[in-house]
Symmetry: C2
Subunit: 800 residues, 2 copies
C-alpha cells in the first residue's frame, strides 16, 4: 500500500482539491461568470453573501485524500462532516464525482450547470450552507455541533466492511456530546463492526474565538486522545506540496492499521479493545484564501470563518475575489464546456464507491424489514378489564427479546439506553443477546460482551447519536429512557425531525426506519427519585414539530403497548414516542380489543361507560396508564354513588387524534371528535402530561371550553404513587370532584359526595404521612370490585 | 502540613466516617429504634425502602477527609456532589456538624431527632434522596448527571479563597457535559479565581452496568486526565486502615499544590495555565455493606447501587441489616441521649467553615446588588415610531458594557456564550473586559486574557453550568445564545427551575440573582443557517414550568429591550428569557414610552390604532420584533386601503400577561384582557414562536375562539428575511389577508384587496427567486411612509 502511495501523482490530487475549492468559493460568491471566462464584475457576484469558507478547504483536502485511498484499495467509505457550514465543499465534491448531476439533472456537468450550482447555494429556494439532506452522501447535517462521531459509530455498527471517515471540527470538539463520544471505541467490536476513522480538524478558530484543543501543548493533545484509547497521528502544515504526501502517508497508515486490527479480530477472534488510528489535521482556517484582506489577517484567523469579504460593494473586493479564485487556475481544471477535464474525472472512485453515492448514506436503499414475531403471542390474558396485572414494559421487553432473536442473523436491530435497560424492564432481551462492551470485562459481570446488541452508556447524547447513525444507514432500533431525562436530547430530536421532514421532500432519499422512544420510569412513578426526575414535557416538545414526522402513543396497558410497539417497528420516517409504565398495573383490554383500540387510536370504552346509545352527562377521558387507572376508579365511584349519572369513558392511545385532520394526518374529523366528546357536555380529561398540551391540541374543537384537563402540575416529590396523583389533582377523588363541579345541576344533589371526598383525601393524607404507604383501599382497588368487571367482560368486544 | 497529617488520629476519622455511614443507612432503612437500643424487628424498618446506598460511603469518606484538612488549615471549602442519590450521606454529615438541627430545629441532636432524621428520608412530605435544595451545604442536586464540575467551576470563579471539592461519579463521567467540563481548567485564573479539587470517584458501577473509566488500563486513565490538563493522583483500595492515610496524604498534597499554584500566580502574576491537582478515588460500590446478600455479590457490585436488601419481609434480611448497622458500632459513636460523643463533635470544622454551613452554598447570603448604570442613558432617539433604526442587542451590549465596567471591582458579573458574544452583538463589553482564556494566547488574538469576564466556550452545557454555579454562589450573569440551540440545555434549565421552585419553599435559602437568557440570532433571521437553526420552542419549554419562577419577554425594539434588561438584572430567583433581534430594525418607542410599555407588559399602541375610544373591528396583536414589524406594515396597508376599518394594535412584551392571574402572577385579569382584546372581535395575533403557545396561554380567555395566531410553522430555510415570514404566513400580506378573512362582512368589500395581495405575493416570489433579495418596497418600507408616523408622534405618550 505504501508503495502505491509513492506512485500517486500528488499534483493531480492537488488539482482535484483546487477544483473542489474553486467550486466551493463559487457557490459562496458567484451569481454568474462561473468559470471566470470574462473579467469579474460586481454584477457577477451575489447580492447577499451568506456562506462560510473557513472549514471548507480542509474538508475538501480530506475528501481528496479519502478518494485516493478508496480508489487505491477499493474501500467502502462514507464521510461524516461535523463542522457547520461544510455544505459548499461536500456539494462541490458530489458535483465533481457526477453524483450531484445524477440526482439533480438540472445541475449538469457544464458551464450552465456550474452556474446553477453556484446560484442555488444559500439562495432562496436553493440549498442550505450545511451538509443538509439535499447533499448526496450526507447522513449528518453538521451545524448543531456535537454528534458527528456518535453518528459515525452508529453507521459503523454491524457494517463490517464500512469505514466511516469522520471529520470533527475543533469547535465541535469543545461540546460535551463530542467530548464523550471519543469513548465510543469502548463499544465497537472489530470482528463484527466496521471502523471509524476520526479526523480531528484543528483549524484553530470558531466564529470569533480560538479553539482550546489548538491551544494546548502537543504533548497534552496526544495524551488526551491516547487516554481516550486512540492512536493519534498529527498532520500539520499549510504548504500543499508538503501536506499532500504527509496526509497520504497518514491515511495509508490509518487504513493499514484498521485492516490489521480487523483481520486479527476476524481471524483470531476478539481479543481485547484495540487502539484505533485517528488523524489530527492541523491546517489554517480558510486555508488558501488571501492572507490579508483590507490589511486584516484572513487566512488562519477567525475572519476566514464566514465570507472573508462580506461586502462586495467595497472597492477592490471584486478584484481580490477574482485573484483569489484564479489562483486555483480553473482554466486548467475545466474544459471548454465546463466539464472537469478527463484526467481529473478519472481520479475519484466510481459508482457506489463514491462517498457521495455510497448507499449507506441513503440508508433507505439498504433497509430490510425486521423479522417480527406475532405480537399477539405475548398477549396478557385479561379475563375481565382489570382482571389481571402486568408490568407493561416487561411484557414489551419479551416481545423485543424475540424481535432481537429473529434478527440476530440480519444484524440490523439494536436497543439503546443510558444504563436503564433493566430498570425499564427490558431484561428479557438479555436472554438472547448481551450488553455490548469492549472495555475490560470481569468474570462476574452481568451479560456483557463485545457481541452484545444492547447499547448501554450513561449518555443520552450517545444513545441518541448512535441510534440516529444506525437508522440513517438503514437499520432499526429502539431507545428506552427515563421520561424526564429524554429532554437531554431535545435538541438532537429537533435536528432529526427536521432531517426527516426535509427528506420527505427529496425524491431520491429513501424512507428509513422510524426513531422509536420508550419513555418509562415516568413522571407518576418517581417514588425513588422525586421532583428532579419528574418531567412529562418531551411530549410538548415533540408535538411542536411537523405533523408528518411525529407520532405520540400512550398505551394504557400491556396489550395496547404490544400493539403500539409492533406498529412502531414497522413504520418509516417517523419519530414515535411511546410512554408506558414499568410498574405492576391492571390490564384493561384483551389482545383483540387492544388491537381494535390501537388501530382506532381513541375510543369509547363501552364496558366502563353507562351512557349506552344516548348522550352522556359527562365524558371521562383518559390518556396514559396512571390517568386511565384513576379515571376508572373515579368512574367506579360514580357508578356506585351516582348511579343515575350517564358516564362515557373515552381512552386516548394516539395523542394526535385530538388534533384536527388539517393539523395532523391522524386527527379526528370534526364529526368524529364530537361523536366521542359530545358538542357540549363536560369532559373531565385525565392526562399523563402537562394539561396545557391537551388544550393546545384541542383548542380548535367545538367543545373545547368544556374540556377540563387534569395532569402534571409540577407538584410532589419523593412520595407514594397515589399521593403523586393527589398532589396534582389527577386522583380518583379529584376527578370525581370535577364531575360534581362541572356537570350542571349535580352540585347540590352531590353535596354528600363532596364531603365524602374531602374526608377521603384527609384519610389519605393522614395515612400516607404516618405509614409512608397508600391507603389499603387505594392499593387494593380493582375495577368494579369484581362486580362491574365481570359484567363488562361480556361486552368487551364492543370496544372501538 | 504533611507533619500534621502524620499526627492525625485516623481512628477518630474512621469513627466519624462510621457515624456518617450509620446515619445514612438508618435514613434508608429505619422507621424506629434508630440507635439499635433494642433488637431490630421488621416493624422498625420502613414499609417501602426507596433510597440508594451505593455512592454514599465514598461520599462520606471524602467528606471526613475534607473536614480534616479544612480544620487543619482553616480552609474555605464547599462540596459539590455529582452522583445521584447522595442525599443520605450529605444529610448525615450536615446533621453530625449540627447544621441540620440549626435549620430544622425539629431534627434535634438526640434520639428523637435521629428518629425524625431517619423517617423523613424518601418519605412522603420528607426529603428526596438526592442532594436537594433542602440539604444544607448543597448547590447541586445531582441525579441529572453531567454538571457537577461546571457548577464547581462556576462557584470558584471570582472566589479566590474558595476551594470547591467536587465529586464526580464514574457514571456521571460518561456523560457528554461532564466529559467536556474537565476542560474548564482552560478558563480558571489562579490569580483571580478560587480552586476546584475534582475527586473522580470510581466505584465501578452504575445502576446495572460497569463504568468504562473503571474498565480501562490505569495508564490510559492517567493519560486521559493529564491530557485534560490535570495532575491526577490515584487513591485505590478498600481497607479503611490503609485508605485513611492514603487519602489524607493525597488530600494534603492536593491542597499544598493548590496553595502553591495560587501563591505563585498571586505573587508573580499569571504566567501560564497550571496543572491543577485532582484525585481519582477507587473504592468498592456500597463500600462496607455486606459482601454478599442471599448468596449474591453486593459490596463492590451494581447490586449495592440502590437498597442492598430491598425486601425486608424476606427472612433473614432484618438480621443482616442489624448486623450490618452494628458493624459501625453506634454505641461508641452516640451518647446516652443520642448526641454524637464529644470527641467526635470536636472533629469537624465550626461555624461557617462547615461545608454544610458555608455561605457560598446559600449564595443569597452573599449576594450584592449589581451597580447599574441608568439604562435610559442608552436610549435610542425615536423621533417618531419607526423613525430610527438600531440593532437592538448591540444597544443592549452597550448597556451591559457599563454594567460590566461598574462591577469590575465587585467582581460579581460575567457574561456567558457559546462563541456567540460578538455574533449576538455584545461586542461593546469587550471594550471594558476581555474574553477569559487560560489556554495559550497568541499576540494577534482578539480580546483574550486570563482576566476576562466574557466566558466563551463552544458548549451550551458549560455556559449554563458555569453560570448556574456562579449564580448559586451569589453572583450575577447573562447568557446569550442562538435561539435554536438553547434547547441543548432544556434539561439543565428544567433542573434549575425546579431548584428555584423548591428554594422558594425553604425559609433559610436566600434569594439569588435570576438566570437571564438573551436568545438572539432568532428563528426569523437565520438567513445564513437555514432550517436546522430555526427553533423558537424554548419558550414553550419554559412556559411549562412553575409560574412563580419563569418570565418571558419579547421586547419589540431597542428601548424596550433596555428596559427589560434592567429589570432582569434586578430580579431574583427567576429564570428570565429575553428574545431579541440583532439585525437592524426600526425603533418604535421612545424611552419613556418603552418604560411605560414594559412596566405594563402589554398595551394598545394608540399611535398605530384608529379605533379611538370605540370598539375596534379587529385587533392586530403582535409579540416579538419581526411580528411587530409585519403587523405594523399590515396595519399601514389597512389604513391606506380600508381606511374605514377600525384597527387596534396591541403589543405584547411580557408573554405571561396572556395567562390568567390564577395561572401566572403577571396574568391580566379577565376584565383587562377583554378591554385589550375585546370580548368578541377577531384578533389577528402575529407571534414570534409556535402559534400553539399563544393558544395554550389564552385558551381560558373569553375571546379565545376569535384569536387567530400567525407564527413559525417550521417552513423556510436559507432565504431572505421577508420570505421567511411569507413561507410561514406571518408576513404583512398574509396578516392583511387574515383581517379580510376574519372580519365579518369585509370579505366581499375587500375582494379587490385580496387580489392585490395575491399579486404582491407573486411579485415577491418572482423577485426573491431571481435576485435573492427582498422586494425593494418591502426592504424600504417605513411605518406610514412618514405620513402616519409624524402624526402619531404627537400621541405616542398615550401608550399604555
Amino acid at each position: 500500500m505504501m508503495a502505491e502511495t509513492q506512485q500517486e501523482d500528488f499534483a493531480r490530487i492537488d488539482a482535484y482539491w483546487r477544483a473542489a475549492n474553486y467550486l466551493s468559493i463559487g457557490q459562496i460568491y458567484l451569481f454568474d461568470n462561473p468559470l471566470l471566462r470574462e473579467p469579474l464584475t460586481r454584477a457577477h457576484c451575489k447580492p447577499r453573501l451568506v456562506g462560510h469558507w473557513g472549514t471548507t478547504p480542509g474538508l475538501n483536502f480530506i475528501y481528496a485524500h479519502l478518494n485516493r485511498v478508496i480508489k487505491a484499495q477499493d474501500l467502502d467509505m462514507i464521510y461524516v462532516i461535523g463542522p457547520g457550514h461544510g455544505g459548499p465543499g461536500l456539494v462541490a465534491n458530489a458535483y465533481l464525482e457526477g453524483t450531484y448531476s445524477e440526482v439533480y439533472p438540472d445541475v449538469s456537468q457544464d458551464v450552465r450547470g456550474i452556474k446553477k450550482l453556484f446560484k442555488q447555494f444559500s439562495f432562496p429556494g436553493g440549498i442550505p450552507s450545511h451538509v443538509a439532506p439535499e447533499t448526496p452522501g450526507s447522513i449528518h447535517e453538521g451545524g448543531e455541533l456535537g454528534y458527528a462521531l456518535s453518528h459515525a459509530f452508529g453507521a459503523a455498527f454491524d457494517n463490517p466492511d464500512l469505514i466511516v471517515g469522520c471529520v470533527v471540527g475543533d469547535g465541535e470538539a469543545e461540546t460535551g456530546p463530542m467530548a464523550t463520544s471519543w469513548h465510543s471505541n469502548k463499544f465497537l467490536n472489530p470482528a463484527r463492526d466496521g471502523a471509524v476513522l476520526p479526523i480531528l480538524h484543528l483549524n484553530g478558530y470558531k466564529i470569533a474565538n480560538p479553539c482550546f484543543l489548538a491551544r494546548i501543548p502537543e504533548e497534552e493533545l496526544l495524551k488526551l486522545f491516547e487516554g481516550y484509547g486512540w492512536a493519534p497521528v498529527l498532520v500539520e502544515g499549510h504548504e500543499p506540496d508538503i501536506m499532500h504526501p504527509k496526509m497520504a502517508k497518514a491515511v495509508d497508515a490509518a487504513i493499514a492499521k484498521i485492516k490489521a486490527i480487523q483481520a486479527d479480530a476476524r481471524t483470531n477472534g476478539f481479543n481485547g479493545r484495540p487502539s484505533w488510528p485517528m488523524i489530527i489535521l492541523k491546517t489554517p482556517k480558510g486555508w488558501t484564501c488571501p492572507k490579508e484582506i483590507d490589511g486584516l489577517r484572513a487566512e488562519g484567523y477567525w475572519r476566514a470563518h464566514q465570507v472573508p469579504m462580506g461586502d462586495m460593494d467595497k472597492p477592490g473586493h471584486v478584484h481580490i475575489l477574482e485573484k483569489w479564485m484564479r489562483s486555483y487556475r480553473p482554466e486548467e481544471l475545466f474544459d471548454e464546456d465546463g466539464a472537469l477535464i478527463p484526467e481529473l474525472q478519472e481520479l475519484p472512485p466510481k459508482g457506489s464507491r463514491r462517498m457521495s453515492a455510497n448507499p449507506h448514506a441513503n440508508g433507505g436503499l439498504l433497509l430490510r424489514d425486521l423479522r417480527l414475531p406475532d405480537f399477539r403471542d405475548y398477549a396478557q390474558d385479561v379475563p375481565a378489564p382489570g382482571g389481571s396485572m402486568a408490568e407493561a414494559t416487561r411484557v414489551q421487553g419479551e416481545f423485543l427479546r424475540d424481535v432481537m432473536r429473529l434478527n440476530l442473523q440480519q444484524g440490523n436491530f439494536r436497543v439503546f439506553s443510558p444504563d436503564e435497560n433493566n430498570s425499564n424492564r427490558w431484561q428479557a432481551i438479555l436472554e438472547v443477546t448481551n450488553r455490548c462492551y469492549v472495555a475490560d470485562i470481569y468474570d462476574y459481570d452481568d451479560h456483557l460482551s463485545p457481541d452484545g446488541r444492547v447499547m448501554e452508556v450513561l449518555s443520552e447524547h450517545q444513545c441518541q447519536g448512535w441510534l440516529e447513525g444506525y437508522l440513517l444507514t438503514g437499520r432499526h432500533g429502539f431507545f428506552s429512557c427515563y421520561e424526564a431525562f429524554i429532554h437531554i436530547i431535545d435538541s438532537m430530536f429537533n435536528q432529526h425531525a427536521k432531517w426527516l421532514k426535509v427528506c420527505n421532500e427529496i425524491g431520491w432519499r429513501r424512507p428509513i426506519a422510524s426513531l422509536n422512544y420508550l419513555l418509562s420510569s415516568h413522571v407518576w412513578r418517581q417514588d425513588h427519585n422525586g421532583f428532579s426526575h419528574q418531567d412529562p414535557g418531551f411530549l410538548d416538545h415533540v408535538a411542536a414539530k411537523k405533523a408528518d414526522v411525529v407520532r405520540i402513543y400512550l398505551p394504557p396497558d400491556a396489550n395496547t403497548l404490544l400493539s403500539v410497539t409492533d406498529h412502531c417497528l414497522r413504520s418509516r420516517n417517523y419519530v414515535n414516542v411511546v410512554v408506558a409504565g414499568k410498574q405492576m398495573a391492571p390490564n384493561w383490554l384483551s389482545m383483540d380489543d387492544a388491537i381494535r383500540h390501537c388501530t382506532a387510536g381513541i375510543g369509547i370504552w363501552t364496558w366502563a361507560s353507562n351512557d349506552e346509545d344516548s348522550e352522556p352527562d359527562v365524558v371521562m377521558a383518559c390518556c396514559g396508564d396512571v390517568p386511565t387507572l384513576e379515571t376508572l376508579a373515579a368512574v367506579d365511584m360514580l357508578r356506585q354513588q351516582l348511579p343515575e349519572l350517564k358516564v362515557r369513558v373515552v381512552n386516548v392511545v394516539d395523542l394526535m387524534k385530538l388534533q384536527t385532520p388539517q393539523q395532523h394526518p391522524h386527527g379526528l374529523s370534526e364529526g368524529d371528535f364530537d361523536a366521542l366528546f359530545t358538542p357540549d357536555k363536560p369532559v373531565i380529561f385525565a392526562f399523563h402530561g402537562y394539561p396545557a398540551l391537551v388544550h393546545r391540541l384541542t383548542y380548535k374543537r367545538r367543545n373545547h371550553q368544556n374540556i377540563h384537563v387534569h395532569g402534571y402540575q409540577e407538584e410532589g416529590s419523593t412520595t407514594t404513587p397515589f399521593d403523586m396523583t393527589v398532589l396534582n389533582h389527577l386522583d380518583r377523588f379529584s376527578l370525581f370532584q370535577a364531575v360534581i363541579d362541572w356537570v350542571p345541576r349535580l352540585a347540590t344533589r352531590a353535596a354528600y359526595a363532596k364531603q365524602a371526598i374531602r374526608d377521603k383525601l384527609l384519610d389519605h393524607r393522614r395515612y400516607v404521612d404516618e405509614h409512608g404507604e397508600d391507603l389499603p383501599e387505594v392499593r387494593d382497588w380493582r375495577w368494579g370490585g369484581g362486580r362491574i368487571s365481570s359484567r363488562i367482560a361480556d361486552t368487551s368486544a364492543d370496544n372501538v
